[in-house]
Symmetry: C2
Subunit: 511 residues, 2 copies
């Protein structure tokens, strides 16, 4: 099945008095004769396509967008096409990751990433939605993200040695709000009960219409969302994990700003989302940070000596702790009894590691001497509390969801864990905390940035674009905002590992 | 089959926590439930449609464009739709005629017409093509015609009491060059051997993309052409005359700047075009004019007394002679022997009717006293010569075409005569001149402005839009520019009625 844009090599008979077909009609006929495809040509492309077709003496390469309502002929060039670059984009709230794919062979040409420049208007989704309502707020947010994407496209193009305007397609995988801001659509109702997007499944548009500086007729595919809190990034995750093609029941966990979870197999899919992420993503803890240079990603504490060892992602001096580091750390706190089962510091266990942060107690993970820029890395009680809420929310989401369909965790064949969270955490430590269910470690499978991987997949094959539409028709969405069961489970989960310790037989119980 | 734009009354369930579908997805679903149609929504229309849908509390009227590659949802309003105006346009080289059609019931709301403002850049097609090549010539011609169409749309809207931007579709029927200029496409190759249009059959576009000030998402249908000299106006003529649905073989003659002729039935169609028009359209004779106020449309001369009587279209003082008046006049000249069979004046027959025009002899049809603004209406020998060439060309075109398929004129069930030419001429006089074949008068059927009528038909029914595509695939085009037979026939036709008088048994032969 065709990629989002494809090429057709054509050679038409030159015009003559005996064959007075118009140039574009001639081109279409030649394409039809070659491929049984009869594309339409948008008005804005007619003049240039006709000019190129004549200049090439009616022989060359046609570029066709594979749109849901039929093929669209958008360009023509004399030379054979050796590389057909398309951009896949993970449009995150804080961070954008992109790859450049050669649609001719499916290979990744290069990758790049950028901070989300909208952060200057609001660190989180909610503050940006509020900003969007003011005066020209929406257009400023829109212009900001388009500018960043244009910069990213330029990065990719430079690295791959192609011109930016030769990028001939774009796929975008992001949460529902980011997609609204990208398309310059009002996000007002997204954060107000009953939390309704302006659109979940926008029809593809052309890059020029959004202000993108890649090829103006490059088709833009937006991964559809299921609701305000279940975005296209998770549809990407389903595509990438092939959850929708599994014979046995599996689960997909994606932790970003929210924890988004899908459960199911090739027969059925059920999903829910909830606020469980910030502490894990590094957005809440004062010393929290994204998994990047200087981030402490792994921590151990010897339960006897209380000696602490850590490892940063790049092996350099520590600047902060990323999500996996926090999980390791809190699990180690628990196992070495530096915290109690409610997640409260027990200062008496090692008084010299604690300082007063000015906002309560803080545990010094790395002191000023060893840390980057002489700034000690500290985990405060308030950060720990946030972490406890996050882990409780996560486990409650998972149990609510699995109970909804009458299954138990033991019925799961596999749990796909997406994103940086999946790549860096040690499931063993997350189980110790009671964040993930107490299953065999082999059940957990990290799948990396599946938001980006899904975006790549839709560029490459119409089958994957069609799967998106099937998915959104197939997924049952469980709204947690009004779910009583979730609230009850949340209370029971605010202990390590859980009030019901029998749920976590592998985790030692103290006191 | 649906009109080019149609409405669907929908009522969707309001959003709730249990039903968190996005607004536009909700609207699409409601439309699908009602009509089994699943439209796409273009990005540019998403924000407004969603806003209107919410304001209307999820109940109202959706506007859907019936595009060849699927339905397109472009607008939504709370109120029921009582009138759905669409504009049909006959885009002539010298003159534009338009009508406003109510797509809800197919009735014509009003009509209007305007001069083609491009005349300031060139009176005829050829001079405009030359102008288009200069600097910004093309965009000036394009802007000029778009401005005129916007004015016409404003005229129609005012007359019908609707807002111009509520005109929700446009169909354009014009010759190939006019269509190029309208779409801002380079007409350079149209007038250079082998006379190739940039496009014969452009895909529909949206009004906003062309600069039209009707509804920005109004779909624009362009009647396809067959070649440089066979435009969409004649495809309209075929639609309006239903030539393509006739059991018996018929002919369609359309005389504008060129004479365009189609021969055929429901099984086959053959067409050709040639320069035969100007003298008949009033574009060549110094006193020639379009059929309008002050135009002499009918003339008789008593063969015995040589008394001349004329009638103007509006009964007012004469200002010039339109095509039908010229044909009447020249036929009367012949029957009263004021000209010879070569079309040369015999001054001696009535010396007092002749004056010296400064460029040869001229016959005074109406003298200064009786004419409008004291300017006598004169037909000069040079005008007569042009007329003789035109009539010879016309008859040669008809005979070449009918011979091409091995038929004779007597085999024709009907001859449809389109345009002002068809409405005003007396076929009897055209036969006397040897311009039309010597058939029973009942065979000739005037069909009025079939260019406009065809444009109206495509607005009303998808079947007619599909017929356009079938027609251009079906018509065989006979190129006269390289036709030897045509040149030979042309020479034989430069006499009244013909060198072979046996072809015109009903016409008296003199000398």
């Amino acid at each position: 099945m065709p990629s989002f844009v494809y090429t057709i090599d054509v050679e038409a008979n030159p015009p003559s008095l005996q064959d007075n077909t118009g140039d574009l009609d001639r081109l279409k006929k030649a394409i039809f004769a070659k491929s049984r495809i009869m594309p339409a040509i948008p008005l804005e492309r007619m003049a240039e396509v006709a000019q190129n077709f004549r200049k090439a003496q009616f022989k060359g390469t046609a570029f066709v967008n594979d749109m849901p309502n039929g093929p669209l002929l958008v360009d023509f060039q004399e030379e054979p096409c050796s590389v057909l670059p398309a951009m896949a984009l993970d449009l995150g709230t804080t961070h954008l990751e992109a790859s450049l794919v050669n649609l001719l062979d499916g290979k990744i040409l290069t990758r790049a990433n950028r901070e989300n420049s909208q952060i200057e208007y609001g660190a989180d989704i909610l503050s940006r939605i509020h900003f969007a309502v003011k005066d020209d707020g929406l257009s400023r947010l829109h212009n900001s993200i388009v500018a960043t994407i244009n910069d990213l496209a330029e990065d990719l193009a430079l690295q791959a040695g192609v011109a930016r305007q030769k990028i001939r397609a774009l796929s975008v995988s992001g949460n529902t709000t980011m997609v609204h801001l990208f398309l310059n659509l009002n996000p007002y109702y997204l954060c107000r009960e009953p939390y309704i997007p302006l659109v979940n499944s926008p029809d593809p548009c052309q890059a020029g219409a959004v202000g993108l500086l890649i090829h103006p007729a490059a088709p833009v595919w937006i991964m559809p969302s299921i609701g305000s809190y279940f975005g296209g990034d998770l549809i990407s995750g389903i595509l990438a994990s092939r959850l929708d093609e599994q014979q046995e029941t599996c689960m997909l966990i994606d932790v970003g700003t929210n924890a988004e979870v899908v459960l199911g197999n090739s027969e059925w899919l059920i999903a829910c989302a909830g606020a469980a992420g910030p502490a894990l993503e590094g957005g809440v803890a004062r010393m929290g940070m994204r998994a990047g240079p200087g981030a402490i990603e792994h921590v151990t504490i010897d339960p006897r000596t209380l000696e602490l060892k850590y490892r940063t992602i790049d092996g350099g001096k520590p600047r902060g702790i990323c999500g996996s580091g926090i999980i390791d750390l809190v699990a180690a706190f628990y196992l070495s009894r530096i915290i109690d089962i409610r997640g409260k510091f027990k200062k008496e266990t090692c008084p010299d590691r604690f300082i007063d942060t000015g906002d309560g107690l803080g545990f010094v993970v790395a002191d000023a001497d060893e840390a980057d820029q002489g700034e000690p890395v500290v985990l405060a009680q308030v950060d720990l509390d946030a972490m406890m809420r996050s882990k409780a929310a996560m486990y409650s989401i998972l149990t609510t969801l699995i109970n909804q369909v009458g299954l138990e965790f033991a019925d799961l064949h596999r749990i796909f864990v997406a994103g940086a969270f999946g790549r860096h955490i040690d499931p063993r430590q997350a189980i110790t905390l009671g964040m993930l269910p107490d299953l065999d470690i082999g059940v957990f499978q990290p799948i990396g940035n599946s938001s980006l991987a899904g975006a790549e997949l839709v560029l490459l094959d119409r089958h994957n674009r069609e799967r998106c539409q099937e998915l959104i028709a197939k997924i049952t969405y469980l709204e947690l905002n009004v779910n009583q069961e979730f609230m009850i489970r949340f209370s029971g989960s605010r202990f390590i590992p859980h009030t019901d310790t029998s749920l976590f037989p592998s985790v030692p119980v103290f006191d």
